[in-house]
């Protein structure tokens, strides 16, 4: 790390230039876990829009699709309409509780493993290493004067970064339109301007955030760690250097005879691998994204000098105190399973199950009724009273459907559709509704003048195709007289 004297404004301004960070490659358990998670998340991201799903003739055959133009969200067998946005709200609540759960258990695990910023930065770092070499080679290369070789390496590195950035931005737009069609349109120049600009913006941000800003995003820009660190408690797992075991440090193997030494050999490996450029031995720091690469690095060293692993390890503050006082280490499972985490998990699970239940039982048709208020009622020449209603019939399936609307209550009532169809007035009306659409109709209902000033009744909608779906909309029939 560059020293802290590298400042503008002479003797200690407020503005500190960023010191370049060259994290060293490392292998180990957590590194492999990160690989696995990177592989899974990137695969999900790039592949999902290409999964096909047969939706018949009325909707695009894409398994996961956010159809902004028609305001539909398709997720495999689930089709979400805008008025069903509460499912999204439920997911957000689940995400919130999930955040409590994960953070109270393993601290900033999201930051270290699954955050897109981490995943793409990690990817970019690997590309950098593959081209420029590992830490020392990169430092040398930076110091080296500009040469053909250096230029070639730089061009290659940024070229690949830009390519990945472009593919990343490119993958995003496929979630919003039929992927194969859009891919062809993008290549032939026929896609919408908004598609190109989205790709361009996302490619630009991926390149700048992942290639240039890296840990600065995590340290300066991201609000997430502020929230997350506020949710940690004494019993959350965080990456910790066990100073009671490591101190005092000894450099190399030349230990002073007689003087007590800790396990830390001051090799600096933990700091060299850190992607945010900190030294975990200085204690818990807000820059730490708990990626655990320093654990891998130190375990490696411990194995070589024949000491037990875990000088740097996931540990809770509470366990640290106990361990420092001489208690044996606590198993991770015991740490993770405690009332707080179990409660969060139960909450999370209940919301999830409730959503699945609701999703399984929802109807794919919907009726809503608005009673005309101006005028509330009309007296007809024969003394009968007429009320008007605007009804909305929603067919949420990808096929045309027939529905039957029935008057429920209002014994002497009959209804007809607007524009002079009074002759056909009846207790039931039949409607055909186009697939995936809302049909708005005006309905007149007439009934005798005797009855309450506001008589409650309901419209019932049922499917005419044999499905046992119904929907009911309560409303009222107004007559002249004092309103209740």
């Amino acid at each position: 790390m560059a020293g802290h004297d590298d400042r503008t404004g002479g003797s200690g301004g407020l503005y500190v230039r960023r010191a370049d960070i060259f994290p060293r490659a490392i292998d180990g358990f957590y590194r492999r876990l990160k690989w696995a998670i990177m592989a899974v998340t990137l695969t999900i991201y790039y592949v999902t829009p290409w999964l096909r799903w047969d939706r018949g003739a009325y909707a695009p055959d894409q398994a996961v699709l956010v159809d902004l133009a028609n305001r539909r969200f398709y997720f495999f067998d689930i089709e979400i309409w805008p008025h069903e946005f509460y499912y999204v709200a439920g997911l957000l609540v689940m995400a919130g509780v999930g955040l409590f759960l994960v953070t109270s258990t393993v601290g900033r695990a999201w930051c270290g493993y699954a955050c897109p910023q981490t995943v793409w930065t990690d990817l970019f770092l690997h590309i950098e290493r593959a081209i420029d070499g590992d830490r020392n080679a990169q430092i040398r290369l930076r110091a080296a004067p500009l040469s053909a070789g250096k230029i070639a390496k730089r061009v290659l590195k940024h070229g690949i970064w830009l390519l990945i950035a472009l593919l990343t931005g490119g993958a995003w737009v496929f979630y919003f339109a039929d992927a194969p069609t859009l891919a062809r349109d993008l290549l032939t120049g026929d896609a919408a301007v908004v598609a190109y600009s989205t790709v361009a913006v996302l490619a630009f941000t991926t390149y700048v955030l992942g290639g240039w800003m890296r840990e600065q995003v995590c340290i300066y820009m991201c609000p997430w760690p502020r929230i997350q660190s506020a949710m940690l408690d004494e019993r959350s797992l965080i990456v910790t250097y066990k100073d009671w075991r490591g101190e005092p440090r000894s450099r190399g193997m030349k230990k002073d005879a007689g003087a007590p030494t800790g396990d830390c050999v001051d090799c600096g490996a933990c700091a060299a691998v850190c992607p945010t450029g900190i030294d975990i031995r200085d204690g818990a720091q807000f820059e730490c994204i708990t990626c655990a690469l320093c654990i891998d690095a130190c375990d490696d060293v411990m194995a070589r000098i024949g000491r037990p692993r875990g000088l740097i390890d996931y540990a809770t503050l509470e366990d640290c105190k106990a361990e420092a006082a001489g208690a044996p280490p606590v198993s991770i499972a015991r740490t993770m399973l405690r009332p707080r985490t179990l409660l969060y998990f139960a909450l999370w699970g209940v919301i999830g199950l409730a959503m699945m239940f609701a999703l399984g039982n929802r109807t794919r048709m919907d009726l809503s009724v608005a009673h005309d208020r101006n005028p509330l009622w009309v007296q007809l020449s024969d003394g009968a009273i007429r009320n008007a209603y605007t009804i909305k019939l929603r067919n949420m399936e990808s096929r045309p459907r027939d529905f039957v609307l029935t008057l429920d209550g209002l014994a002497d009532g009959a209804m007809w559709e607007s524009l002079g169809n009074e002759a056909e007035s009846a207790r039931t009306l039949r409607f055909s509704v186009a697939p995936d659409s809302v049909d708005q109709r005006r309905i007149y209902v007439r009934a005798g003048a005797d009855g309450g000033a506001a008589e409650p009744f309901a419209f019932t909608l049922s499917a005419a195709d044999g499905a046992h779906e119904t929907d009911k909309a309560e409303t009222r029939f107004d007559r002249p007289g004092d309103q209740p």
Binding site: T8, G9, G10, S11, G12, G13, L14, Y15, D372, R373, N374, P375, V378, Q379, L380, S381, D382, G383, R386, A388, S418, L419, G420, Y444
Partner: protein, 299 residues
């Protein structure tokens, strides 16, 4: 210099107690100094770039107000011109519909067609401008102003009749095709005496189903036959030709209680409506017809 400043001076520092901090601006208020921290360079450059942009903007667009107008800019762009172009675009888009709706006889448009639906919506808007003052925003009218939602029509409720009423108005002296009829003021003009009027009203309340027949009503029947039946018919069912209301239904434009009917017979009634054909274009008239007809009572 105040005492406080003197104290600061005594501590021997203008840049704080220790002189290790960055440069200050040289300002000091009550011992608080302003540091001279440089702006980030990208920030400064964006600032300069926005100044350059602003100058360019002022040159190409009308920007600087002068005594009578403003600088013209180099593109000839004006917000007024922009608005004009927008309005022209909207009107061009509507032209086809307006032409069709103005030239197609309104009674020939299929009630379920998109053209009709569009006409109804256009009529709804026009109604809100021209008609609500008398008929109310929901077209429910009020005493003396007919409710357009119900199925009682003085002059006919099919589209042709509604259109006729709209174009020529009711009792408009300057329109020779206007709907015209005059009810005599039986009391004021001395055609009937107060007692006779009382008997006629009794009879009307009987045929309207409001009262049981009594001696007064029986006396009123021949009076009605002699004075009223010519317009309202012997059975009191009215005659649209004269805009004579049906007296046997439940709808009373001026009220159906004894006092209201007595006042009507004594002084006569004769509502007026403007002849909209003199003020509105045929398309608007047709759209209004479509809307009024769609209110639910259209025949």
């Amino acid at each position: 210099m105040t005492d406080r400043n003197a104290k600061t001076d005594k501590s021997g520092a203008t840049g704080g107690p220790e002189k290790t901090g960055p440069k200050t601006m040289g300002h000091e208020w009550d011992g608080i100094e302003e540091l001279d921290n440089p702006m980030p360079r990208w920030w400064l450059w964006s600032f300069y770039a926005s100044i350059v942009f602003a100058i360019g903007y002022c040159i190409v667009y009308p920007a600087i107000p002068l005594a009578r107008s403003a600088t013209a800019g180099t593109f000839g762009w004006t917000s007024r011109g922009d608005l004009k172009a927008d309005i022209e675009k909207v009107e061009a888009g509507r032209a086809e519909f307006m032409r069709t709706v103005a030239t197609t006889p309104i009674e020939q448009i299929d009630p379920q067609s998109p053209l009709m639906r569009q006409a109804v919506e256009g009529g709804r808007a026009a109604f809100k401008v021209h008609c609500v003052q008398c008929h109310g925003s929901g077209a429910a009218g009020s005493k003396g102003y007919p409710n357009l939602n119900d199925d009682d029509w003085l002059w006919g409720g099919d589209r042709a009749a509604i259109r006729q009423t709209l174009v020529h108005g009711i009792r408009q002296p300057d329109d020779d095709k206007t709907r015209l009829s005059m009810m005599p003021a039986f009391g004021r003009d001395g055609i009937l005496t107060a007692d006779q009027i009382h008997d006629v009203v009794s009879h009307v309340r009987v045929i309207a189903g409001q009262d049981k027949a009594d001696a007064s009503a029986r006396r009123g029947a021949p009076l009605f036959e002699a004075n009223c039946a010519v317009c309202h018919g012997s059975d009191g069912k009215g005659l649209r030709q004269f805009g004579a209301p049906n007296l046997t239904d439940r709808i009373w434009l001026y009220g159906g209680d004894r006092d209201s009917v007595t006042a009507t017979v004594t002084n006569a009634r004769g509502g007026v409506m403007p002849a909209w054909g003199q003020r509105l274009d045929p398309a608007t008239i047709n759209m209004l017809t479509a809307y009024v007809h769609s209110l639910g009572g259209g025949e």
